[in-house]
Structures are given as structure tokens and as C-alpha cells.
Symmetry: C2
């Protein structure tokens, strides 16, 4: 599987953005976050873990993007298709890219669209943003959702990367039987599962979650503690692993030592709900339709939280499978199906798979689990 994308793919993304910018009357779009900048450039580094320096990409209404970045990133950005790379020696307490960015924006012209809708944030200090606005003298407004809407529909090359990491995670899940037995602390299971994901080919593993208990788990976001697995527990492992900057996000449940009728029934219900979601997830249906198909089976209501979400360059991105999300599904959207049931007050079981919306039926990206709960 080839890393990166052909330059043509970045040009296609840019042209699509520029067509929307013309409609929205924007002279430029200013991007500051990792996925947004990577989407248009391919700039991939774990260096974003350091909050010390702001990074900027400016999409002009016509012509190629301009990167305004700390000089430490110049060599890596020069390997991308971006040719206009302007750098400063960051961090600079006197002027941390403010004048360079303001000059660039003035040269390109406004109004400047900044992603401001759901899930967006501005990755630069608020005080510096005010300085850039003043120094540029341009009008700033929302990007009209242009970047988020483009990212929601994946290209075949993007889908192939997500399928690839789904396959890697699948081969790691296949080996959970080797690392999870009664008596093994949950923290050790997480650590070994992380190692398995790397062995099978994940580049890195930003997200591992899970839980264990006879009636499921208390939540799905806590780090593992050292409580040993016990016979009769349900163990759930969920992962957002990454290959070449693209995520999978799905989970598996395992019964430890033995399985009860109640656990078996709950798992079968989750599998049934997932199948109903898959069936409903067709071009032209809404996120709400898919939610409803699953909620009917699990008995979830509007307060139960979402039953899936978009997926791609981030662990979660774009639509939510909830009663309130009326986003219309389009071919190329990658989503998770993530139904949950409560086995006891405050004790959950969840299941998750990854699919891509196609004309007609959705296509599976993860190898779907079957109803029988695997017993370790």
C-alpha cells in the first residue's frame, strides 16, 4: 500500500474548496489544525504533539496554497506539493508568525474564512488571532463549513488507507485470545493489545479504550486500571489505530472463561442492531435514519448518546448517528456503527464496526463480528 497521495488528489481537493469559496464569496481560507493542513498538503508529522508553535496554511481563491510555518517544518513541508513556503524562527515571543501571516493574507486578499463550525477549533492563541485580524485589515468569518464538508466524503485512495488500518486492527483482535486470560490486569491487556497493533503494522495508536466486568463496563473512555480479568467478565477492547494518517475505530467483545445467557443475548442484540444500521446506511438516507434503525433494536432513546460517527483523518469526525443529525449520506462517507445496550444501571455493552457509504449497500471496512460471543 502506497503512502501519501498523488499530487492530483491534492489539486482536486483544492479545486473543490475553491469552487465552494467562490460560491461563499471568500478570498481565502485560513487553516491552523493538523488534519485541515494535512488534508490540503500531506504534511504528516507527530510534531503537532508540541503546542509551542502555530502553523498556518492559506488557501487562496485561485492558485496554489501558501504555507506559513515555523522554520523547523520547512524541510518536511518542502517534500509536499506546496511550493510557496514562508517560514519564521518560532517560537518568537515578539512576533510569532503574526506579521508574516498578516502580510500573506493581505497579499492574497479577503474575506478570510476560518473553520468555526462543529468540531472545529482555532489552533493558535486567541490574543495572536486578534493581532492577525488587526494587522491584515481584512474581514474574517466562518469558512461556511467548506473544509468539513469536503473532508466528509473520502476519495478511493483515502478509503483504501482506512480499509488497510481496519485490516491491521482485525489481525490484532484475532490475537487477543493470547493476551487476555483470567487474572491478567486490564492495564496489561491494553498494553499488549497496543503492542499487537504495532506488530501487525499500525504506525501509531492514539486511542485504546475498553472495559471489563460481568455486566459489561461502566464507561468506554476511562484508562485501564490494574484490576485483573475474572472468569465471567465481558472484556471490550476499542481502538483508534493509525496507518499513514488514517484511523480505524472499532471494537470487539470477549467473554472471559465462561459466558452467561444474558451476555450472549446482549451481544446478539448488538450484532443485530449493527446489521440494521448497515442495511439503513445507504446513499440518500440520513444519519438519523441509521440511528433509528439501530435504536429500534437496542431500545436507545434520544438521551442515550450517539450510535456512530464519521471517521477518517480523525478518530471521530463529521456526522453523528443521533436523532438530531439530519446529514444526508453520500457515497464515500466513512462511518462507524456503534450500538450500545445497558445490562444493568450504569453498565454497558457496546459494539462497533466501520463501513463506507456506496451507491446501494454500504461496503464493510472492518471484518464484521458475528453473533456468538467469543469465549477466551
Amino acid at each position: 500500500m502506497r503512502r501519501g497521495f498523488a499530487v492530483g488528489e491534492y489539486r482536486t481537493r483544492l479545486r473543490a474548496a475553491q469552487a465552494d469559496m467562490a460560491q461563499a464569496g471568500l478570498g481565502a481560507i485560513l487553516l491552523t489544525t493538523e488534519p485541515e493542513i494535512r488534508y490540503f498538503t500531506g504534511f504528516l508529522t507527530r510534531f503537532w504533539e508540541s503546542p509551542s508553535r502555530p502553523w498556518f496554511l492559506v488557501l487562496p481563491a485561485a492558485g496554489d496554497p501558501v504555507a506559513v510555518i515555523p522554520s523547523i517544518g520547512a524541510a518536511l513541508m518542502a517534500r509536499s506539493w506546496v511550493r510557496d513556503i514562508r517560514t519564521w524562527a518560532a517560537p518568537d515571543p515578539d512576533d510569532d508568525g503574526v506579521s508574516l501571516l498578516a502580510d500573506t493574507l493581505r497579499e492574497i486578499g479577503g474575506p478570510v474564512g476560518v473553520p468555526s463550525g462543529p468540531e472545529s477549533h482555532l489552533r493558535m492563541p486567541l490574543a495572536e488571532f486578534e493581532r492577525v485580524k488587526r494587522a491584515s485589515g481584512l474581514a474574517f468569518r466562518d469558512d461556511a463549513g467548506i473544509v468539513a464538508d469536503l473532508r466528509a466524503v473520502k476519495s478511493e485512495a483515502e478509503i483504501a488507507k482506512i480499509a488497510h488500518i481496519c485490516g491491521i486492527a482485525g489481525r490484532a483482535f484475532d490475537r487477543v485470545t493470547e493476551i487476555a486470560q483470567p487474572g491478567v490486569p486490564l492495564s496489561a491487556v491494553f498494553r499488549d493489545f497496543h503492542r499487537l497493533l504495532l506488530e501487525k503494522g499500525a504506525d501509531w495508536v492514539p486511542y485504546i479504550a475498553g472495559g471489563a466486568g460481568p455486566l459489561g463496563y461502566a464507561d468506554v473512555i476511562s484508562p485501564a486500571d490494574d484490576t485483573p480479568l475474572a472468569a465471567g467478565d465481558i472484556l471490550m477492547l476499542d481502538t483508534g489505530a493509525v496507518w499513514d494518517g488514517y484511523f480505524c475505530d472499532y471494537d470487539r467483545n470477549f467473554a472471559i472463561g465462561r459466558v452467561t445467557a444474558e451476555q450472549t443475548a446482549a451481544h446478539a442484540q448488538l450484532i443485530e442492531a449493527t446489521a440494521a444500521g448497515e442495511e439503513a446506511a445507504r446513499t440518500g438516507a440520513t444519519a438519523r435514519d441509521v440511528w433509528q434503525a439501530m435504536a429500534r433494536i437496542t431500545g436507545s432513546d434520544e438521551t442515550s448518546g450517539r450510535l456512530g460517527h464519521g471517521l477518517g483523518m480523525q478518530l471521530t469526525e463529521g456526522l453523528s448517528l443521533t436523532a438530531k443529525d439530519h446529514t444526508i449520506l453520500k457515497p464515500g462517507m466513512v462511518i462507524t456503527l456503534e450500538p450500545g445496550v445497558e445490562l444493568a444501571p450504569g453498565r454497558l455493552m457496546v459494539h462497533e464496526e466501520n463501513i463506507v457509504i456506496r451507491e446501494g449497500r454500504a461496503q464493510r471496512l472492518s471484518r464484521f463480528a458475528t453473533a456468538p460471543l467469543p469465549v477466551i
Copy 2:
């Protein structure tokens, strides 16, 4: 080593913030990012990887903090010392916590300080922030650097966690000889080093960087490619590994197969510069003083980039060792010493260690490398 902190530590942090808030005339501080919220609550989860939901913590001028968070986080936040936890079913496209946060802020009273200085960002959509400001009717301004200044000086319990992860990384570095030989692709070395860090006890590894080449490496932020190591290369591995939410950040250089006089001399110079930095890093000295002590030896000038930085809950945080940073060192500040030299135009060697500022000499947190370059 115990995970988490005693409640008293969180109370101390809060009281210190409140003393500064009184000075700055703030009625509340609004926090939205992972390290800021964790600093005052202990709320630790990898779920921040999902950008879909905003999270809020409000520090009042008097009394205990109020968490305004998505209901998916309620169970985990309830395990912290925070008692006032207000939740909504996020993501909600109609009102994603805006009214709940605005009501809470109105109840607590303004002016509301929001971290806006260097390295800060607001982790919520800009459009939603404007709605919160309007709905609360309160005045919003900078937090006067209160949160960043508090976080810069670590408690003994925090320092112990950083020392612990430095030790874990040290034991992983000791085994690099087993994974790096001529012919092994750099990407495989990164993957195996990641696995070693987990084996030695890291909870997760948000950052691995490095490079290889006979005259050093082109940059220190690129992901590894599949180029095999060759005899005569210098291999550098750098890691930000995490234990209980605290980072180490240091590196090691290795000569592959053989070592040249030039490589030996460069490494010795880096070790000498690190020692000079350690010597200069005393209470009352400035970040610039430490920079200067190292820059004198490496010949770095003001355009060479920083030669170290603060470290703690983030891979990099707080001060920068540059000519322009006049921050005064205080006992409890944890910093990296990171000198670099150029072996050829565009080819670097860097070295990095971690220390904590004390009364008198700094204390080493990483086990310092010695001048001879290890040959694998």
C-alpha cells in the same frame, strides 16, 4: 509509583489560581483543553483524541471548580475530586453545551479569564464561543497567564512522575542495540522502539521522532521512512513517552557499524554543551542564560531555533531556551536541554536531556549520556 494525586494537591493548585485571580480581578477562569482541565481535576482519558465534543471547567474566584461536560464523561469525572458536574448529551447540533456553560458562568460571575497567551488555544468552535459570550452577558478577557505560570512550576509529585517516565525511556534506550543494525529500515526501528517503551512501562507514546545518515539527519520532525540503516550512519531516536499523563522528552544518538572522527567530535561537543546548559540552569538565571551557555559551545545563533524547553503534562510547554526568552528559572521548573550542531548544510545532530531546576544545581531526571558515541 502511585497514579493520580492526593486531593490536597488539586486544592493547592486551585488556591494558587484563586490568589492570582483576585490580583487580576477575575471572577472566573474558563478552561477548554486537556492539560488545563486535567491540571485542576485529574481527569485523564485518551478520549480527547475525538474532537466531536467540547469540555469545560470553570474555576470560580472562591469555592470549588465546576465541570460542564458531555454526559459520556460523567462517570470518569465523578471519580475525580470535582463534585459539581453538569452534563449534557453531546454532540447536540442545537445547543452543544452553550446554554449550560453560559448559565454556569452567569451563576459564578465574571469577568471570565480565558487562557490566550503563548501556546494556548481555545478547544471549542469559534462560533460557539461567541454564543457563550453573548448568552452569559459577561466580560471575557485573557487569564493573565495564570494557568500557564502555575503549570510551569511542578510539585514534587509531578516531578516524580516525570522522573519515572524518564527512567522507563532510559531502559528502552538501553535496548536499542537489539533493534538497530545495518539493513534494518528506519521505520522498523521506530516501531520496535515504540514496543520497547511499552514493554518497559510507558502508558502510551505520543511522540517518536528521529533520523539517520552519515552526517546526521535532515530534520527532527519527519516520520520514519523505509530507508535501511547503513554502516556509517548516525541514528537518533527521540521520544515523548507518557506515564500517568506526564512526559519525558529526550533522545539518544548511536553510530551504526563504525564511527568517524567527525561524528565523535560532534557528539562530544553536544555533551559538552549539555553540561554547560546544566551548569547554567540555576534558580534565578534566565532561559536566555541557559541558551547562551550552550550556544557558545555549539556556535548557535539567534536563528538556530531553541535549545530546549519546558516539559510536563505536554511534550513541550512553557519557556523556550532562546535568545529572546527572559523567563526566570524557579525551583520545580522541568526543562529539556537540547543543543544541536550542523555537520553539513542541512544535516543536523542533536542531543537532549531532562532536568528539574532546584535551589543550587539542577537535578537530572534523565540519566545523562556520556561523550563517547555508542557504536552498534
